[in-house]
Amino acid sequence: MHNATGAVGDAEPVIRVTGLAKEYRVFDKPEGLLASVRALFRRRSRTVEAVRGVDLEVARGEFVALLGPNGAGKTTLLKMLSGIITPTRGTATVLGHVPWERADDFRRRFALVMGQRNQLWWDLPAAESFRLHQEIYRLDPARFARTRDELVDLLGVRKLILQPVRELSLGERMKLELVAALLHEPEVLFLDEPTIGLDVVAQHTIHAFLRHVQAERQMTVILTTHYMKDVAALCERLVVITGGEILYDGSLAEIVDRFTTHKIVTLDLDAEPDPARIARLGFPCEVRGPRVVLRIDRARIADALPELLRDSGVLDVSVEDVPLEEIVAGLFRSADRRSQPAEASR
C-alpha cells in the first residue's frame, strides 16, 4: 500500500494495519407473520464483510481523512483501531499496542470522539466531567488545569463549562466533547464525523482548533467524515474506502491528478451567447445567462485558453479543478458498479 507522505525518516509508524477484516453475522427478519413464526425456529443469517483486508500505515503527526459512502466500513475500522471491536482477521498495532487488548497504558494515550455519542455527563456542567477525566487519566492537577484552560479558550467555550450539558446546543456540546477528549493529551485521536450537523461557523472553529492542536502536539489524527470541507481544511492525506476496501490512499493533490481528466473553465461574457457561438467552442458546456462553464481536457487546456480569450466578448475567465466532492462521488460510484454486494448468503 501507499506510504505516508512526509513519513520519510520516521522510524516506526504509529498505526500499522495489515490485512484487517471484520465480518458480522446479520439475521434477516422475514416479512409476514407466517415467515416470522418460521424464523423463530430457523433464523436465516448472512455474513456481511464490513471491512475486507485493509492495509494501512500512519506515521506520527499525520492527519488522515477516511472517506467513504455510508456503510463503507469507516466506522468499523475506527472501532477496531480504538479497541471496541475485535477483527475477524488481520493484525493492527496502535502506539505499539494491539488495540482490542485494551491495556490501560494504551487507553491513556489515545482518544475517540464519536459525533453522536457523548462522554460528558448530561445533567452536570462539563467542568465536572473534565474533573472525572483528570482522575481517570491520572493527570497532574496543575497541568490538567493549564491544558483545560488552553483548550476551552481556543474554542471560546470557557463560559459554557459551568452550565449543565443538556442546556447546550449541539455545536457547543461537540466543542466540549473535543476538550474532554484532548485533556489527557492523547498521542492518537480518532474522530468519527466530528462536524456532523454543525453550522458553518462551528465547523470553522473546530477546523481551526484541530489544526492548531494537531500541529502543536504532533498528534496523529484519523478522521471520518462526509464533508469535503473537513478534508480540505484539515488533511494532507486521504484514504477512500468503499465496500470495506481501500480504493485510494494518497495526498489530496494527487487524487485530483489521478481521477480527473479535465478542468472547469468559466467564462463571463459581455452578453448572453447565441447557441451557434457556443457550439463553435466545441466543448461540453453549460450556459447560465452570460456565464458559460466549460469542461476542457487537461491536455488541451494550454491550446484552448488563448483561443477562447481571443473571443472579444470575454470579460473574465477562471480555471479550476473539478470540485473534490465530484471526484469522490465519482470514485464511490465506480466502486459501486464494480463490486458485487459484499456478502455471502448462508
Binding site: 480504538s82 491513556r108 455519542r117 462522554q119 452536570l124 491520572r138 493527570l139 488552553e150 489527557h184 502536539r217
Partner: protein
C-alpha cells in the same frame, strides 16, 4: 503544551484508584441532587403500601383466636414490615439492571471500553452516591414513621445484635448491587431483558421476605426429605435483601445461626461479585466480536 511523553507522570500513584472512585462518587452525588425533588416524593410514596399491609394483618389476626402466627404477634408483623423497608432501602437497586442493559443496547458502554476506567467500580460508586443522597432525603420521613410506630417494636436489642444488624444491612447493599448488576450484564446476550428483570423481581418479592416473613414457610415440605421450604430459601441469596436484617433486629436469629447466616451472606456477595466480573469479561468479548 509540552510533549506527550510525561502524560502518565502521576500514573504510579497508589492512591489514584481511590481518588478516581472518590471523584466518581462526588460527581454521582451531584448528578443525583439534580433530581432531589423526584427523590423526596418517591420516598414518601414508598410508605404507602405498608398501610395496606397493616390493615391486612389486623384483619387476619382478628379472624383468628391465636395470639401469634408462626411466632409473629400483630405487633411483630408491623415491626417486621417496617424493618424490611429499611433492608430494602439498602438492597434494592432501582434501574440498575435495566440501565446496564440499556447502555449495552444504545452503545454508551463503549466509553468504558475506550477509557481506562472500570465499569463495575464506576457503577458501584454511582450506586453508593445514589444511596447516600437517598438516605439524606429519606432519613426524616423514615425517622418519623418509625417514631410513630414505636409501640409495635420490641425493646431495643443489645449492642451485638445492633452491630450484626448493621453488618447485615451493609452486606445486603453489596448483595443487591451484584445481583442486579449480574442480571444487567445479561444484556450482552439478550437484546431485551425487561421480562427477565420482571421475573427476577417476582422471585425476589416472594423469596426475600418482602411479601411475608420467610420463616412462615417452615412447616411446608420442600419435596426434599427432611427439609422445609424455609430451609431451601435460607440458602438462597434473596432472603438477605429483606428478611434477614429484620429477623436479626427482632431477635429471630441468634448465636451460631446468626453467624452462619452472616457467613452465607458474605459468600453470596463474593459469588455474585465474581459472577459480575466474569459476565463483564465474557460479555465485552462477545460485544467486541459481534456488536460494537
Amino acid at each position: 503544551m509540552s510533549g506527550p511523553s510525561d502524560t502518565s507522570a502521576a500514573a504510579s500513584d497508589p492512591l489514584a484508584g481511590l481518588r478516581i472512585w472518590w471523584t466518581m462518587l462526588v460527581i454521582s452525588i451531584e448528578e443525583r441532587l439534580v433530581y432531589r425533588g423526584d427523590f423526596a416524593l418517591g420516598t414518601l410514596m414508598r410508605f404507602l403500601p405498608i398501610v395496606t399491609q397493616v390493615f391486612l394483618w389486623t384483619a387476619v389476626f382478628s379472624a383468628t383466636a391465636r395470639g401469634d402466627i408462626a411466632g409473629y404477634s400483630r405487633n411483630d408483623i408491623v415491626a417486621y414490615y417496617l424493618l424490611t423497608m429499611l433492608s430494602r432501602a439498602f438492597s434494592s437497586m432501582p434501574g440498575l439492571a435495566t440501565g446496564i442493559a440499556r447502555s449495552i443496547r444504545d452503545g454508551s458502554i463503549k466509553k468504558f471500553l475506550v477509557q481506562p476506567v472500570d465499569y463495575l467500580s464506576f457503577l458501584l460508586a454511582s450506586r453508593v452516591a445514589h444511596k447516600l443522597v437517598y438516605y439524606a432525603v429519606a432519613a426524616a420521613p423514615f425517622a418519623l414513621v418509625f417514631f410513630l410506630c414505636r409501640s409495635f417494636f420490641p425493646p431495643l436489642p443489645d449492642a451485638t445484635t445492633v452491630a450484626a444488624f448493621l453488618g447485615a444491612l451493609l452486606l445486603s447493599f453489596l448483595l443487591g448491587f451484584f445481583l442486579e448488576a449480574a442480571l444487567g450484564m445479561l444484556g450482552f446476550w439478550f437484546l431485551e431483558i425487561s421480562s427477565l428483570v420482571f421475573g427476577y423481581m417476582l422471585v425476589q418479592y416472594l423469596l426475600s421476605g418482602h411479601m411475608f416473613p420467610i420463616d412462615m414457610l417452615a412447616g411446608i415440605p420442600s419435596g426434599i426429605p427432611g427439609t422445609s421450604l424455609a430451609d431451601v430459601v435460607s440458602w438462597l441469596p434473596f432472603q438477605f435483601t429483606a428478611y434477614f436484617p429484620a429477623a436479626v433486629w427482632l431477635g429471630k436469629v441468634r448465636g451460631a445461626e446468626l453467624v452462619r447466616l452472616l457467613v452465607v451472606e458474605a459468600v453470596w456477595v463474593v459469588v455474585m461479585a465474581v459472577a459480575c466480573r466474569l459476565a463483564w469479561r465474557r460479555g465485552t468479548r462477545r460485544y467486541s466480536a459481534f456488536g460494537g
